[in-house]
């Protein structure tokens, strides 16, 4: 029966006009027959017809009911509503355009952000069966967080593979690593005759043999690793290239398979190319240039032994959950396995463990998380940042929606008479409301369409912006497509907004006092009161948010301008951090490193050489220092105060190399920096803070050097203040302590090159190669200026530009909103204006009256925004308590009256202008015309 029903409905839909005609004919026939019968009773024909009509009852109702029985009335009504809505919207094109763009923009912005966040943090990596792939993460007793949580040893991987009951397969992969790769110069040459070019930098990843096959990645050329490969260390010198690498460095050579690539000293043969869509397994989200087998590690990273060190945490482990296994079960199983492993391999086994990876780095648990591009997405800080970002962008949407709401309210009020007439003609309230809502829904849907277009585009832009300071590969941009989830989100937001803001006007509109509405033609004076409060609130809110954004953007811009002229206080242009060679055997390691340092120091191009554990501007050690106060209390005991400070182990040549002056006392002697003597040099700022300008030389301080470990040092000198933690401000406090040759493993070299930097770098590379033939660390000698300083500045730039963009958007929307509201107010009160002027008010009087009314919410909103901005600025200032934190304002005052008041005034002026234009127009209307205006 159902299909018959459906068929009838479809028929009714398609032939409805014909059916209406027939219905009319049928009813007319009935009336004629009745009239004829009445005539038989000797009535005149006209009277008979009238009687027939009366006897029938309401023909309209009968027709309506017949139509309804066709079962498609709901659909027909909807279509009718839609047609009507489109007509109405076409009638006021400016309003429609504004509304649609406003919505589209606000929602599009949100959606772009959501797309990026989803792709990066929520979506699992795009591989086979992505719902089941997980990453292992370990948790340390020391609470250390970050990338090290994803490091496991090859031995652990083998142990887990063998003994687990919850994974269908496990994959291991190293972290992406810089290697020196030499490519064949002559592309067309056969392998045996290939002449290799100079080594250049490439990013490589070492993986297990089942990497590609398990992930379901089929090569676009050649093949991937086979199961039989990766069994014997060093036996399979094969690489798979990534698609972009193949395109850019090999020119997409179709005969690439079989060609040789030298990594370090070893010749690897290319066996295949990964497909374009494969972007790796993330964490970090870098698309490497080539993959090779983990068993080739001794060749790729000479001098280290990852395969046989059970406590050397070098590789990431991913796995596919077996069918029917939940994440919790997997977690439990792996934790147990880890305990067994730790039991079998106690910490003392680790000869390669440096001082910092002491026994306290025991693993407390191993958890399992869905594998996404970024690691640590569960981290509360990451989530907090995301929420913050979305809140900020959400505020822009709020402004947009407020705009829309105001416009809708305005429009609805203007249609009182139309609605009253329709109600009087017999439309049901329900029907009317449905029609009004449909109008808003159409707006919302159009807005949603624009939003999608915007987000298609916006997410790419956003990703490119993020790339700037996060330094990732652009391969991921192509992966960010608005997926179905985003589409649904957008749609829900548009529909929700339409309904929400359409509902209130619709409800209000469909309940007017009919007679009043018809008489007054749409301007019931008394009724406006509560609606104008809502309108005022919306406008005030918009202005407040815009003010906030504007001021924050202004502050950040200030900071940015200051950042361009910032001087770190020490040499950065010719200073290069050098990673020293590394050997698993600690004794050999030390001697090799010492050797390297000695050789480099002898080079003529090297002006100075020093070593330290934290490279300036790249990383910071923040800890606590306790100062013994001079004043003794009555009992003769000194009191102490503890401050937060930055600190660093430095060698004797540090200050000379960096160009930091020693203001008081002396620097360390070479002996002291070999033995790690218990002396210290403090910065001027710390000296001032702690000893009030008294000479600190000879005083004792206690520095926290471990989790619960404090060591005593004697101050021997005071150094000048520099910006070595980050570029934005002078280090608030700094303690320098000497290095010790026992801990040479922890240090980086810093060389200051004189003359031609390129020659200097080449010379250093040659020296490093020669110091021990096998040892060759990855070479990336980038000066501090080009590296660390630039990246911080770029980050500042990105933040500021984004803030300016958002502020601009908010300002634009708010201005439109204010203009729209004022225009509406003015049009509603034309009669009132006419009366005022007819009674003798001057143009200026009327203007002042309207401006005063319009600007009241603006002024209040601006004031609120100002206060909020003060709060934000104060917050930025509060962060500076941490010695290592960044000052985004680069030293600009946190309450800068020029910025704050200036921008607030600017906004108010713009709003004033937006009010003025329509108000002025109103005053030019002839009073008589205004009075007669219907």
């Amino acid at each position: 029966m159902y299909w018959r029903d459906a068929l009838l409905r479809v028929q009714a839909l398609l032939l409805h006009r014909q059916m209406d005609r027939e219905l009319k004919e049928e009813l007319q026939f009935h009336l004629d027959m009745q009239a004829r019968k009445n005539e038989a009773g000797n009535r005149d024909p006209a009277e008979a017809r009238r009687q027939a009509r009366l006897q029938f009852g309401s023909i309209e109702r009968a027709t309506e009911e017949c139509r309804e029985s066709r079962g498609i009335s709901a659909l027909q009504n909807l279509l009718q509503d839609l047609r009507y809505a489109v007509r109405i919207l076409k009638k006021s094109p400016v309003f429609t355009a504004f509304a649609v763009l406003t919505l589209g923009f606000g929602i599009g912005l949100n959606t772009s952000l959501f797309s990026v966040v989803a792709a990066v943090a929520l979506k699992p990596i795009p591989v086979r069966d992505s719902g089941r792939i997980v990453r292992l993460e370990r948790w340390f007793v020391s609470g250390a967080r970050g990338d090290i949580q994803y490091g496991f040893s090859h031995a652990e991987f083998q142990f887990f593979s063998e003994h687990n009951k919850v994974f269908s397969s496990l994959i291991e992969t190293s972290f992406p690593r810089q290697v020196a790769a030499s490519l064949p110069l002559d592309q067309a040459a056969l392998e045996s005759k290939a002449v290799m070019g100079p080594p250049e930098q490439a990013t490589a990843q070492m993986v297990s043999a089942n990497y590609f096959s398990e992930l379901g990645v089929a090569p676009v050329l050649g093949r991937v690793f086979r199961q039989d490969e990766g069994q014997v260390p060093g036996a399979d010198p094969v690489v798979v290239l990534s698609y972009p690498y193949w395109q850019t460095r090999f020119g997409g050579d179709p005969s690439i398979v079989g060609k040789i690539v030298k990594i370090g000293d070893t010749a690897f043969s290319v066996i295949g190319v990964a497909p374009r869509r494969f972007v790796g397994t993330g964490n970090p989200p870098v698309l490497v240039d080539l993959w090779t087998l983990l068993t080739m590690q001794p060749q790729v990273v000479p001098g280290e032994d990852w395969l046989n060190q059970p406590l050397d945490y070098r590789i990431q482990i991913l796995g596919y959950l077996a069918l029917g296994v939940s994440m919790k079960q997997a977690q439990a199983d792996v934790s147990v396995l880890e305990e067994r492993f730790a039991h079998d391999h106690p910490a003392s086994d680790g000869a390669a463990l440096s001082r910092r990876e002491a026994a306290t780095q025991k693993t407390t648990a191993v958890t399992v998380q869905a594998a996404t591009f970024f690691g640590n997405t569960e981290d509360i800080r990451f989530k907090a940042i995301v929420v913050l970002l979305m809140a900020i962008v959400g505020l822009v949407l709020v402004v947009a929606c407020a705009n829309l709401a105001n416009m809708l309210l305005a429009k609805a009020s203007g249609r009182q008479s139309e609605i009253a007439v329709r109600l009087a003609l017999g439309a049901s309230r329900e029907r009317l409301m449905r029609q009004l809502l449909t109008e808003n829904l159409v707006l919302a849907v159009f807005g949603g369409a624009i939003a999608i277009l915007f987000s298609l585009w916006g997410s790419r832009l956003l990703w490119l912006a993020v790339e700037q300071f996060a330094g990732m590969h652009s391969a991921f941009v192509k992966q960010i497509k608005p997926d179905a989830r985003v589409f649904v989100y957008t749609l829900l937001m548009s529909v929700g907004t339409g309904l929400l803001f359409g509902l209130s006007p619709a409800l209000r509109s469909s309940r007017p006092d009919l007679t009043n509405a018809l008489k007054d033609s749409g301007t019931p004076f008394g009724q406006r009161l509560d609606r104008s409060k809502l309108r005022g609130l919306l406008v005030g809110g918009q202005i407040a948010i815009s003010t906030l954004f504007l001021i924050v953007a202004g502050l950040l811009t200030h900071g940015l301008i200051r950042s361009t002229t910032v001087d770190p206080g020490f040499e950065v242009r010719r200073l290069f951090p050098v990673a020293l060679p590394y050997n698993n055997d600690p004794v050999q390691n030390r001697s090799v490193r010492q050797q390297a340092l000695d050789h480099i120091g002898l080079l003529p191009e090297v002006e100075n050489l020093t070593f330290t554990d934290f490279v300036p501007l790249q990383s910071t050690w923040t800890t606590q220092v306790t100062i013994q106060n001079d004043k003794n209390d009555a009992a003769g005991n000194g009191s102490s105060e503890t401050l937060g400070t930055c600190a660093r182990h430095v060698s004797s040549t540090y200050f000379r190399t960096l160009g930091i002056p020693i203001i008081r006392g002396r620097s360390f002697t070479p002996d002291e920096s070999r033995q790690g003597a218990s002396i210290a040099i403090v910065s001027t700022a710390l000296a001032r803070e702690a000893w009030n300008g008294n000479d600190p030389v000879g005083k004792k301080i206690k520095l926290q050097t471990g989790r619960n470990e404090w060591s005593m040092f004697e101050v021997v000198g005071v150094a000048g203040d520099v910006r070595s933690a980050n570029i934005s401000r002078l280090d608030p406090a700094f303690v320098y302590v000497p290095t010790s040759s026992a801990h040479l493993n922890d240090y980086f070299g810093l060389v200051r090159i004189s003359g031609d930097t390129r020659r200097g770098i080449a010379a250093i590379r040659v020296t490093m190669e020669q110091s021990d033939g096998r040892l060759r660390p990855g070479f990336s000698l980038v000066s501090l200026e080009d590296g660390a300083v630039q990246s911080q500045i770029v980050m500042a730039k990105t933040f500021t530009l984004s803030a300016m963009f958002l502020a601009g958007v908010a300002l634009l929307l708010a201005s439109i909103g204010v203009y729209g509201v004022m225009a509406f107010l003015v049009s509603q009160r034309e009669k009132e204006v006419g009366i005022h002027m007819a009674l003798g008010a001057t143009r200026n009087d009327v203007l002042t009256l309207m401006l005063r009314q319009g600007m009241r919410p603006v002024v209040i909103g601006a004031a609120c925004g100002l206060i909020c901005a003060l709060g934000v600025s104060g917050l930025l200032r509060a962060i500076l308590v941490f010695p290592g934190s960044m000052d985004v304002l680069y030293g600009a005052k946190w309450f800068d009256p020029v910025t704050f008041l200036g921008l607030a005034t600017l906004l108010t002026a713009i709003a004033l202008f937006a009010c003025y234009v329509p108000a002025r127009r109103a005053t030019y209307v002839e009073p008589m015309i205004a009075l007669r205006h219907e």
């Binding site: 049928e26 026939f29 027959m33 009968a62 029985s69």
Partner: protein, 112 residues
């Protein structure tokens, strides 16, 4: 001229039943159905003409009657309704139900 009669409000279901019954013998157009019912019930039942046509269309949609355009006594065309097989079955069912109902009510009313 119609005499003042007491009009009984007909429930929708009953109207359907009456229509079906009226159409059992031959096909008729809407006005004729209305007249027939009035005639046979001796003016007791006067169909509210406004609800007749919606009822007819509903029944048609349910598949119990079917409609066809034919030539009427006026010479114009009119829509003639006739029972379908399903309609005939429905009529029997409904008549039986109605009889049961009226019997029951009658018994209750007659009880001492």
């Amino acid at each position: 001229m119609t005499a003042e009669q007491s009009r009984l409000d007909l429930l929708q279901g009953t109207l359907d039943l009456l229509i079906l019954r009226a159409l059992r013998a031959d096909a008729m157009h809407g006005w004729a159905i209305s007249e027939r019912i009035q005639q046979i019930s001796q003016d007791v039942l006067q169909v509210n003409q406004g609800s007749l046509y919606p009822a007819l269309h509903r029944l048609e949609h349910r598949g119990w009657i079917k409609a066809q355009w034919g030539i009427s006594e006026l010479g114009r065309r009119a829509r003639f309704y006739s029972l379908t097989a399903a309609g005939r079955r429905q009529l029997e069912i409904e008549s039986e139900n109605w009889n049961k109902l009226t019997d029951a009510i009658g018994r209750v009313l007659r009880m001492a």
